[in-house]
């Protein structure tokens, strides 16, 4: 059945698949050893806070607007929700920051007034103001992709720092330092 052809010459392209594969394997191996960036950093860090004015999330506190961050001192902008479990975990840390004289303004994402009230009753209320963001509109403008997230807003109204995920006890000092830098 064999055709009686002569063996063909050694051709360079026969090594091409191996070379391409070696390149891929090297790349994949390198990437596997790299720490995977799990979170999407906001590109808004370093830029002024976008303009917004949110209605109050419940009766106990006024709503929040970008103008509330202007003047005097740096503040924390905490994005949270009563339906968010890690938000319960970070509540004591927010209380600790409040005790150290930090003003914290909250934005409640896709929440209901009665749920907000119940959450704050149970886990404490570190906020001076809480705006209700019904459709995540302000959250998206801030470049935040989840709850909870916390932004450090400078005295001049610019976004200085973004903390993604719940604030653990070891993050309190870190946030405090960022607030001081933002004077």
């Amino acid at each position: 059945m064999n055709a009686s052809g002569t063996p063909s010459r050694l051709r360079w392209w026969m090594w091409l698949p191996l070379a391409l594969f070696a390149f891929f394997a090297g790349l994949a191996g390198y990437m596997l050893t790299q720490e995977k960036e799990q979170f999407v950093k906001s590109t808004m860090v370093g830029k002024p806070l976008p303009a917004f004015a949110l209605p109050p999330a419940f009766e106990g506190r006024p709503g929040a607007a970008n103008t509330d961050f202007q003047g005097g001192k740096p503040r924390l902008l905490n994005i949270w929700a009563s339906w968010c479990l890690p938000c319960i975990a970070e509540a004591p840390q927010l209380e600790a920051l409040k005790a150290q004289g930090v003003e914290i303004i909250g934005i409640a994402i896709r929440d209901r007034p009665e749920d907000v009230a119940r959450f704050l009753e149970r886990h404490g209320n570190p906020y001076t103001r809480i705006g209700a963001d019904e459709i995540s509109a302000v959250q998206l403008e801030l470049g935040s992709s989840g709850v909870p997230e916390t932004f450090v807003i400078g005295a001049d109204g610019t976004i200085r720092y973004q903390h993604i995920g719940d604030i653990r006890p070891e993050h309190v000092a870190l946030l405090k330092a960022e607030l001081e830098k933002a004077q």
């Binding site: 064999n2 055709a3 002569t6 063996p7 063909s8 050694l10 698949p17 191996l18 394997a25 790349l27």
Partner: protein, 658 residues
């Protein structure tokens, strides 16, 4: 006991894979006449290994069926109150179970090959089984050392955790095993290619042994991709049917390679040409399958499909890739030049057209591979990019358009050498249809370029698919040729669906209050009301939407926005209304502050043809298998009659035309 039997079966199967590899390698060392004493064990080892691996999988199925909560995998992925069907499908709805399925199919394929393939020389068969055993060893090691599905819990769990609700869908229960069987079926093509390369027995007999495996794997991949595309279309609620997501690409790349391989192996079988090219594609097709498994399982790429992301397992699979793909390409580079060149042919011939389309398919494969891996490359340099349709669509179209044109004409050409003048009438007919449709579409409206070209090509291909039957007695046309006609027609049908969806889709996004109407296409859609509904593990708001086409009666649609609570997840359940000439697709969104609802509706003319086409292509593949097996059986019977008669018959019954 179930878990212990399963685990013991797996270890024994792994041991037999070692024996299979050694015995196969021994067969390779047999010198003419004297058979190495070990060599006789290769086939039985492969068959018993298949039985044991399948037994292990059945044990896991049983553990899931009875919800044995002392097994860690069952406790973390199942629940005693789950419907029985999802208990069963939960077996492969997780990393360990799906890898066991992978290995089970691999061993089964090896066993079938060892049991039924008789026409290859002993040395080639031995080398093939050695390679198959060698692949199996790696995956047994992976399973037993890092993903043991039978691991027991120290204390049995009181209740299972349950299966991700998105995976509790009958479509998703069938789609992964189909794709897996397709991926793994290509392993046999890979082993055969390596076996033939090692023994330098690359010839039509080898191609005929390889062809049913390639066809079978290709049919399964076609079905798996078609089903996956339809699932994404109705379940994700984005109105699209293909997203160029890394995991979708991971299934498309082996399909492209297998499509090229299937055509190339036919040329080798019929004409003894394209020897090294066929070997190359055989290696490439399974390499793409393993690459796909790596991309899905390792999490190096960000994907909506990232099910079981684990860098350690990723490193294990990467090591396996290095051994198998790296090894295969090295042997290819060293050995391929020693394979005698096949028969020559003119550029204007059936082979010429097939080679051209093979190159085009490979180019599309390269485009998809580059686009899929580019984000990984960019990320190594700290840049975040995502590659999407603006790259994939035009870049693949550059190669797809000439491919479709050649595909229309290729089957009309004769083997070896042909003159364009002989098929002038057919070519004119195809060109006329192409130009007529292009002009007709261009003057009726202003549509994007690619869909317009797609419509013209679809019409031309639909005609061209049947032209090979012209002037033949239909009753005497071989089954395999019917397979080709049907598959090529399926491509035209699918292309029509894609182009029509791209050109004519109408979309309306409106905020509506109950009683309001929206118009899309010739449909009038009325929102009648919105009500909350509750399911077993979700709550939803459900819209009652009446759709009326022209003066016809209203049909009710009920799209839902669902919220699952464990794990918390919001999904859109789109509502579909299928007509022969298209689909109405409705999605309910959020409520606006003034109390109206976001209603999104599409009218997608002929969109269903995309999947009908996929089914036709797969059916064509099935016919081709039937046709080839029939001819092979005849050939084998004839061979039994003796060497002389066989030589005579080979002239009388030539390989049926593609």
């Amino acid at each position: 006991m179930i878990a212990e039997i399963g685990l013991a079966a797996l270890w024994l199967a792994a041991a037999l894979a070692v024996l299979q590899m050694l015995a196969g390698a021994a067969a390779l060392r047999s010198i003419d006449g004297s058979v190495h004493p070990l060599a006789v064990y290769a086939r039985p080892a492969a068959i018993v290994q298949a039985v044991l691996a399948v037994l292990a999988f059945i044990m896991l199925l049983r553990a899931f069926a009875i919800t044995d909560l002392s097994i860690k995998l069952v406790a973390t992925n199942s629940h005693s109150m789950k419907p029985f069907i999802y208990k069963i499908t939960g077996t492969w709805g997780n990393h360990e179970g799906s890898m066991l399925l992978w290995v089970g199919v691999l061993a089964l394929a090896g066993g079938l090959l060892a049991g039924f393939e008789k026409r290859l020389p002993d040395r080639t068969m031995g080398a093939t089984l050695a390679v198959q055993g060698f692949i199996a060893i790696g995956f047994y090691a992976f399973l037993l050392l890092s993903s043991n599905p039978f691991e027991r819990l120290p204390v049995p769990a009181a209740e299972g955790i349950g299966l991700n609700p998105l995976l509790q869908d009958i479509g998703l229960a069938i789609h992964p095993p189909t794709l897996y069987a397709g991926y793994v079926g290509l392993s046999v093509a890979f082993s055969l290619a390596m076996g033939a390369l090692l023994t330098r027995e690359v010839n039509p007999n080898f191609a005929r042994a390889m062809r049913p495996w390639v066809l079978g794997a290709w049919v399964l991949l076609t079905l798996g991709i078609t089903a996956g595309s339809y699932w994404a279309y109705y379940e994700l609620g984005w109105g699209g049917w293909w997203f160029w997501d890394p995991v979708e690409n991971a299934s498309l790349m082996p399909w492209l390679a297998a499509t090229a391989l299937m055509h190339s192996v036919s040329v080798l079988a019929a004409r003894d040409a394209l020897r090294t090219w066929t070997i190359m594609l055989g290696v490439l097709a399974f390499s793409m399958s393993m690459l796909g498994t790596f991309l899905v399982r390792s999490g190096v790429l960000t994907s909506v499909h990232a099910f079981a992301v684990d860098p350690e397992r990723g490193a294990f699979i990467l090591a396996l890739l290095l051994i198998y793909i790296g090894g295969a390409f090295t042997i290819f580079a060293l050995r391929a030049s020693a394979v005698a060149e096949g028969k020559r042919f003119a550029a204007m011939s059936r082979e010429g057209a097939l080679v051209f389309n093979n190159v085009m398919l490979s180019a599309i494969l390269a485009i998809v591979l580059l686009g899929t891996l580019y984000p990984l490359l960019a990320e190594a340099f700290d840049a975040r990019v995502s590659v999407g349709p603006p790259y994939f669509n035009p870049a693949s179209a550059i190669f797809a358009i000439p491919m479709f044109l050649v595909m229309a004409v290729g089957p009309l050409l004769r083997w070896k050498e042909d003159k364009p003048a002989r098929v002038l009438f057919e070519m004119l007919a195809i060109a006329t249809v192409l130009i007529a449709v292009l002009v007709a579409v261009a003057i009726t409206g202003d549509y994007p370029l690619l869909p317009v070209l797609g419509l013209g090509l679809a019409a031309a291909l639909a005609l061209a698919a049947f032209l090979p039957l012209r002037g033949r007695k239909l009753a005497r046309v071989p089954v395999a040729v019917w397979g080709m006609v049907l598959a090529h027609f399926g491509v035209a049908v699918s292309l029509l669906g894609m182009a029509s969806e791209g050109a004519f889709t109408e979309e309306r996004l409106a905020a509506v209050a109950p009683g309001d109407t929206v118009k899309v296409g010739d449909w009038v859609i009325t929102l009648q009301g919105v009500a909350p509904v509750a399911g077993p593990n979700w709550t939803a708001i459900e819209a009652r939407v009446a759709a009326r086409q022209g003066d016809g009666a209203a049909v009710m649609l009920a799209p839902q926005a669902r919220n699952f609570w464990s794990p918390a997840q919001a999904t859109s359940e789109s509502a579909l209304l299928t007509r022969w000439d298209g689909q109405l697709y409705a999605v309910i969104g959020t409520q606006t502050p003034d109390g109206r609802w976001q209603l999104r509706v599409w009218w997608k003319p002929f969109v269903t043809f995309i999947w009908y086409g996929g089914l036709l292509i797969a059916l064509g593949g099935v016919l081709a298998i039937i046709g080839r097996v029939q001819v092979d059986v005849k050939r084998r019977k004839a061979a039994e009659l003796g060497e002389d008669r066989r030589a005579g018959l080979a002239d009388l019954v030539p390989e049926p035309a593609e």
